[in-house]
Symmetry: C2
Subunit: 412 residues, 2 copies
């Protein structure tokens, strides 16, 4: 089927400065209280025109102060002027004072930018249970405002400032052409590695220069997140701070509306592409991982069954340890698929490593063992299950579990 | 409140031979196909009088052949003559041939013992997806029948024969006196370590010389298992073979009936004690663990909430890694309690290490940090949460996650 639009994705770009009407700034303000003013730890994203915003947030009962505040600002349907994100301190489990700090951050930046507090979003990632060093943070806001520009350099600095235990920045740009007109999306993210090493957090910021209603943006983001960021697992731990924010400022002049099916479809595809690239980058840069494995379950009775089995496999310590050891241990995969307790029927289960058969009707084709070994020794491969019970399918990306992970996260 | 009975528990005993009318045998028959005839790998438990039996089995969708067969024999309400258990091969994911092998094992032993096939129970633990070496197994049955006795030595051999990656045998005896009469229970178990290293399995066998109806025994065992074996976690992986079996042969002349409340209560307490001791021994001997941590959640709205939070904490890789590192990382505990998504309210959460306060109303009492460190450096300690939402409580026992575990289980 021909599409009436084109979507072109480029990874590892300068970042959000490639989207019209966005400026970036960054600063090193020693949020970690380590007298380290060389490490960038504050990023600012400012839209020339206040932007329509949508967000996806952690569903943890324990939500950090900035998450609670951002949900409030977005629900109030305010047009957003800026996002301020710091690394090194999560502002989580910090009670009333933490919430006040988040409010104060917004108020401080809002005054400088000449907008209202509720037009600022804040994100924090880092240690839990410590208060933000507010004076340092405010100096960081001053410095990042002073450095604000649409140059590549500041954009790359901002993409670096949000990192914690990540080993590299994560950026992507998508250009969309519909009916001879174009608009652009770009995203940056930080990974789900433990921080300092105190928690796992993922943050992703997406900018777009088309205009769109908040309800359409919200629904498009929900869909894209559910198929990407919510389909990755490194250690199964969900953070108090996970946040995805998308700002659409309309600076390209391109308008997306329900009436224009091509434009809306193109936008959804582009947003999905941004999220997919960033999600894969997050898994690939998981702490001390050595492998990224795609788990595909098809032939399920419904999506819930497929998803439960994907997660059960992807979070099994035994399965993940065997990936690390390059061991084609299908017994552990069958075992963990079974303890998802979805009504799997072993006698109907087909399993493949990439396209090489492992099980047919629950029975191993051991003559393929040499090929299995080859595949699971690779840095990326796929595990494909057919439950032969129905038509539903699901996919997740998972990382292996390594001795390095345990060592890195054992703390003191 | 005074009890009209006494229950006395002794750990690390000879084993099931201490219960009247039970004989044990063991053999080394190279189930692993490694030409190793020094390692005991087959255990036989024989009751002089066919015994009332109940069982608790894995709820994994993928159940090993012996699990399926034992469920059938117990549901048919047959009086059980013997249990045959082998280590080194799980007879799981072995299809029709595996099921026939389990049937043949029963038939072979039944003929030797002069009973019907359905009066034999079989258990297997070890590698998944390999067929049992039936000729070796049958020679093992012959040898264990020849060695059958009520001596301490054979009983200890049997307790060793079911072990795999366990580092020590696990036994317990409980003596019960009610109204001047006595009866005895004893148990043996193998741990939830990975095997060979291919799967986690726990097996437990309990013998009792009182008589009891199958329905009372079934209900008593269900209760005891739910409060003990189902409240431990090493790595969150549930096996295809987990089995707890209890045989009551009446050889003591003691009869337990619903009409005798003291006797029934005493039996339930004794069975709970057997299971509690064995469950703790299993966690304490988990693969490459260094710590056993009791997680207590109280003040929950209902038991489901308390249990979900217990398991979320006890299965969190980040929490478990921090225990290994002796790091009093309460942020990870609060985070994992939150992502159980039960409606926890952080502002109401109290948390203690042993009896030392960590959080009150969600806020840290950091002045206690030195004491927290002392506690989490111990080999055993407790984490106590009060949700302050209701009156329900739950407890689980969990182990830490170590680099040794990952190394041990990475396989090839």
């Amino acid at each position: 089927m021909d599409k009436n639009y084109s979507v072109s994705t480029v990874e590892d770009v300068a970042g959000l400065c490639m989207v019209k009407g966005f400026k970036l700034g960054a600063a090193a303000c020693d949020i970690r209280n380590k007298d380290d003013y060389n490490r960038l730890d504050l990023a600012m994203i400012v839209s020339d025109l206040p932007a329509t915003a949508a967000g996806a947030f952690t569903t943890n009962d324990v939500k950090a102060a900035p998450v609670v505040l951002d949900m409030r600002h977005i629900d109030a349907k305010r047009k957003i002027k800026a996002i301020i994100a710091n690394s090194g301190n999560a502002n989580a489990c910090t009670g009333e004072r933490g919430f006040k700090d988040a409010l104060d951050t917004c108020a401080y930046a809002a005054e400088k930018l000449g907008v209202e507090s509720s037009q600022i979003l804040v994100c924090s990632t880092g240690r839990i249970g410590e208060f933000l060093p507010m004076e340092k943070l405010k100096r960081g806001i001053d410095a990042s405002l002073a450095s604000l520009s649409s140059d590549d350099r500041e954009s790359m600095n901002a993409a670096n400032a949000i990192l914690t235990s990540d080993t590299r920045s994560k950026t992507v740009k998508v250009e969309v052409t519909v009916g001879g007109k174009t608009f652009t999306l770009a995203g940056m993210a930080k990974g789900a590695g433990m921080i300092e090493p105190n928690m796992a957090t993922m943050l992703a910021f997406i900018a777009c220069d088309a205009s769109i209603s908040q309800s359409l943006l919200k629904e498009s983001l929900r869909l894209a997140v559910s198929r990407t960021f919510n389909r990755i697992t490194i250690d199964g731990d969900m953070s108090t701070n996970d946040t995805v924010l998308c700002l659409c400022n309309g600076a390209s002049g391109f308008e997306i509306s329900e009436g224009d099916a091509d434009a809306l479809e193109a936008f959804k595809e582009a947003l999905l592409s941004v999220c997919r690239v960033l999600a894969r980058k997050i898994v690939s840069d998981g702490e001390k991982i050595t492998k990224v494995v795609e788990i595909n379950v098809r032939g399920a009775r419904d999506i819930e069954q497929a998803e439960k089995i994907c997660r059960s496999i992807g979070n099994s310590l035994l399965v993940k340890s065997s990936w690390f050891g390059c061991d084609p241990n299908w017994g552990r995969i069958a075992d963990s698929a079974g303890y998802a307790r979805t009504g799997l029927v072993l006698e109907k289960l087909d399993l493949d490593y990439d396209s090489v058969p492992v099980l047919r009707g629950g029975q191993p084709l051991s003559e393929n063992k040499a090929k299995w070994r080859e595949i699971v020794a690779r840095k990326t491969f796929s595990i494909n299950l057919n439950l032969n019970l129905g038509d539903a399918r699901e996919t997740i990306l998972a990382a292996d579990l390594t001795e390095g992970y345990v060592n890195f996260n054992k703390g003191e």
